[in-house]
Amino acid sequence: MAKNLSTFISSKTKTVEINRENPTVIIGERINPTGRKKLLNSLKEGNYDVVRADALSQIEAGAGILDVNAGVPGVDEEPIMRAMIQALTEVTDTPLCIDTADPISLEAALSIYEGKALINSINGEEEKLESILPLVKEYDAAVIALCMDDDGIPSTPQERFAVAAKMIERAGKLGIGPERIVIDPLALTMGADHNAGRIAIETIELVVAEFGVNVTMGASNISFGMPYRAHINSTFIAMSILAGLTCPITNPLEDEVNLAIQAADLVMGRDDFGMNWIKHYRKRQKKS
């Protein structure tokens, strides 16, 4: 077993340490206009109130890092990304995860962000490795690395592991250590392939055993097309935490998934005296 690595993500004044001995770090997914009409319309109008409100509600619900995606159809991404980061910095010191496929927006975001950002994302495609890894190095950032490459998404855990190994090696050549690479094994939809969950979990086990790296995952796609989605998501996330998932990208406002994460942390012995669990219980009591 490789040693558990610590990934440090920071803002100007706050640092989050992601490590398998610490409680799970939730990367809040809601600041993303895909499928969110209210946010999308507000961004189109140049209004960042929804962004600010989304940040605060997610932090309140337990997000440790906020994902920021500025993809508005038909609008130049870079100025929106800049404005979103500025708006967020005004209201919170929670570190940010910069989520863009556009290297120009990414560099703009990194240049104004004060701290060590998490970049979302690279994958094993040559073009991505060549355009993004130098930015990871230059800005002392960490990066999410998706287990897919120019040949698409591999169908076996072993092949996905090989893509992860390639990305870690390529980063290493630039002097970016594995502690700055957060692997995403890719959770596909169980509705289309009932092995999708198992493949993701086995991929996590392989990369953790070999490299000790931190692991992220978007865990809500997995239940697409199925009834009782929240139950599937929460069971999957708890099992993935046992396998080695450390910083899932989720919506912390979904209580059921949040509870599963907190319970999994307690089960894993990462919640000292169960204080987190009890604290969240009291918070819920107050609300209801």
């Binding site: 895909t34 993809g71 159809p73 939809t189 509705g191 009834p227």
Partner: protein, 211 residues
């Protein structure tokens, strides 16, 4: 209705892909025409699946099983359909647009439309506008379907429609689009012919287009 036809319908609904080819053969042995098997056995089954899926009573894995069952039956009767000169409803070219790798929705649309009697030409995911243009030229479909699951890749739908216009073949097809971030107003804005919220609606829309 003949007993075997209703059995075939049920087999499609239940997703019984193991027994269906044998049942299709039995139907042929009983002297039924391939067209009858398609129109009175298989398609009513698939219609039922579409209705139940839309209503939230059936789920994606069940639709996939039903579609697989449909395909297993079609493998038996397709050669005979061609022989007897029975025309399918028409061709649909579908693909996920440039930059986008999501294909579950697109595959479901393909399967539902196939179940409704269309011939599907699936040109895959991450499809360049020009590849769509070439496919329309090559296959002369009645309908073109595009899927995008990201706000950042939706624009490629507009680019594809422009590319079709530039090639002078925009009006040769009906264009339907779909995917999580896509809306009716986006469809109107980029000049598509329709937006479908799910695979069953897409299949209904395709039928309306050729009606």
């Amino acid at each position: 209705m003949s007993d075997i036809l209703s059995k075939l319908s049920t087999a499609i609904i239940e997703g019984n892909f193991k027994d269906t080819p044998g049942m299709a053969e039995t139907a042929l042995d009983e002297g039924l025409e391939a067209g009858e098997i398609l129109n009175q056995g298989l398609m009513p089954g698939m219609d039922h699946v579409g209705v139940e899926f839309k209503a939230g009573n059936m789920f994606v894995p069940e639709v996939l099983r039903s579609a697989r069952t449909m395909q297993a039956a079609m493998d038996i009767i397709r050669p005979l359909l061609a022989e007897t000169g029975i025309e399918q409803a028409g061709k649909i070219v579908i693909g996920t647009v440039k930059g986008d790798l999501h294909d579950i929705g697109k595959n479901l649309v393909g399967m539902m439309c196939e179940g409704a009697g269309f011939e599907i030409i699936d040109i895959g995911k991450d499809v360049e506008p020009n590849t769509f243009v070439e496919a329309v030229k090559e296959h002369s479909p009645k309908i073109l379907g595009m899927s995008a699951l990201l706000t950042t890749t939706m624009r490629a739908m507009e680019q594809t429609i422009k590319a079709l216009e530039e090639a002078g073949i925009r009006d040769s097809v009906k264009i339907m689009i779909g995917g999580a971030p896509v809306t009716q107003s986006f469809s109107d804005q980029i000049g598509a012919d329709g937006y479908a919220a799910n695979a069953a609606s897409a299949s209904d829309m395709a039928k309306e287009f050729i009606a």
